[in-house]
């Protein structure tokens, strides 16, 4: 298990929320910071259509006022200039935020994806809760792992079904086979829904199911400092990260 956990993140990981407030942005930052804390070069990318809050939530070291819109418009840039467009976490993750004065476009993500690959970094994409938008085509063109985040609530589990349907409709069974459902507990009183039942229902339909426990630091809603996460939370991100690596390598570990 230890070896598995030490694997680097794939070139691209897609984080999708099953509903609003699912924890997709938090999980994006958790995965990216986990890799960065191990010394990996990783960028958390705001891949929402009109701009999310990944920088506001995660940039505990440097908050850039620039966005990926400007980076793409600038064309090829040197590494130090690239860094200038990025916000930073104290763990070392670079964050490319969308300012939101333009909505996302396919061409933009085509350019950005190429730029990130040329730099040899791992990208964790925060997609928000929308997978079918056309601008995501460059991200969906490669068999990236999909981390589908769902809060541990009955209503969210029920909405998870439409999110799974969306993945199936967009990417077919191969997309579902690359999906690790990640249950995020945002309730300090404990796990409110039977996750084992969810495992039973989804057995064989997705790659796997992981859980992220309630974390007091995350529950405060303040800017996230990775070093302040509980050990169990960091271990959970390690597991999800390992799942993403396994998926990228095509290891058929299903529920």
């Amino acid at each position: 298990m230890t070896d598995q956990l030490l694997q680097a993140l794939p070139v691209s990981t897609l984080v999708l929320g099953a509903c609003g407030g699912a924890g997709a942005t938090t999980t994006t930052l958790g995965l990216a910071n986990t890799a960065a804390a191990r010394g990996g070069a990783v960028v958390a990318v705001d891949a929402t259509p009109a701009g999310g809050d990944v920088a506001e939530r995660g940039a505990d070291a440097v908050l850039s006022v620039s966005g990926l819109e400007q980076l793409v418009a600038a064309g090829p840039v040197a590494d130090d200039v690239f860094d200038g467009y990025c916000s930073r976490t104290s763990a070392g993750t670079r964050i490319l935020n969308r300012i939101g004065n333009q909505t996302a476009s396919e061409r933009e993500f085509h350019t950005l994806t190429g730029s990130l690959r040329a730099r040899g970094v791992s990208a964790v994409h925060d997609l928000g809760h929308r997978l079918r938008a056309a601008y995501l085509a460059p991200l969906l063109a490669t068999p990236s792992p999909i981390v589908l985040v769902v809060p541990c609530r009955a209503d969210a589990f029920n909405r998870l079904r439409s999110a799974l349907q969306s993945i199936g409709d967009t990417l077919g069974e191969p997309g579902l086979a690359r999906t690790v459902v990640t249950v995020s507990n945002q309730d300090a009183t404990g796990w409110q829904v039977d996750i084992d039942l969810l495992r039973e229902y989804l057995g064989g339909q997705v790659w796997g199911i992981e859980t992220i426990p309630y974390d007091e630091h995350l529950g405060m809603g303040i800017v996230i400092d990775h070093s302040k996460l509980a050990p169990d939370t960091r271990a959970a991100y390690e597991r999800v990260s390992a799942a993403a690596s396994a998926i990228a390598e095509g290891r058929p570990e299903r529920v």
Partner: protein, 225 residues
């Protein structure tokens, strides 16, 4: 046997798994469910929060210039209220199909006095407030954020009421606004809604705004007569 015509579609995703039942209401530990609710910091919408299109500048945390999800437009808003009104009183305003398109269906643009878009908005002017309201409604899906750009005394529902409306809109619904200022502080708004199932609707609304302490807030949302 005659099947009730509307029975089957009620749970279109039951082939994944049957619905989970809601958790029983907490009994012994009463107020725990509220612990994660953090009221938004009152300073999150400051005039300096507008998106800055300038080239890269780096700064510390105090230079929060990133787009504010806040506010914006529109109206629909309190689905529980306004949309209900539209549905019941204005036949031509509810459910009028609009051209559905996947990509680029909402291109930010200005045509004369009409601004089109679905950006994050802000509180710099009326258009920004309307944009911000609907961005909070459809993108952030946060009643609290939507209420942030509505004047406290405005006859618009509470954050909780707005949240109820938001929750009634399917996750993944996209929106687009065409906003025309018809007189100072009064806007004719066309809100187009594109739902995940491909259905589209259009709402015609009238929104008023007012400046308070250097910011602009929505003071009323109504359907166009």
């Amino acid at each position: 046997m005659t099947e009730p015509p509307n029975r089957a579609p009620l749970d279109r995703f039951s082939h994944w798994f049957p619905p989970f039942a809601s958790a029983p209401a907490p009994r012994s530990t009463a107020p725990a469910a509220e612990t994660e609710q953090q009221p938004p910091a009152p300073t999150w919408l400051t005039p300096g929060d507008e998106p800055d299109p300038t080239p890269p500048v780096r700064g510390g945390r105090d230079k929060q210039t990133l787009a504010v999800a806040g506010a914006a437009a529109a109206v629909i808003a309190v689905l529980a209220g306004v949309v209900a009104v539209i549905a019941s009183t204005s036949g031509d305003a509810s459910g009028t199909p609009v051209a559905a398109a996947d990509s680029g269906w909402c291109v930010e643009s200005r045509d004369g006095s009409t601004e089109t878009g679905n950006g994050p908005g802000g509180t710099s002017d009326g258009v920004a407030a309307i944009l911000g309201f609907d961005h909070a409604y459809y993108v952030a899906r946060s009643g609290a954020k939507a209420r942030e750009v509505v004047a406290p005394d405005a006859p618009v529902g509470s954050a909780e009421t707005i949240q109820g409306g938001i929750d009634s809109v399917p996750e993944g619904t996209e929106h687009c606004l065409a906003i025309t200022e018809t007189e100072p502080g009064r806007y004719a708004v066309t809100l187009s809604e594109l739902r995940p199932d491909g259905s589209a609707k259009k709402y015609e609304q009238v929104v008023t705004t007012a400046d308070r302490d250097g910011r602009t807030y929505i003071t009323s949302i109504g359907d166009a007569k």
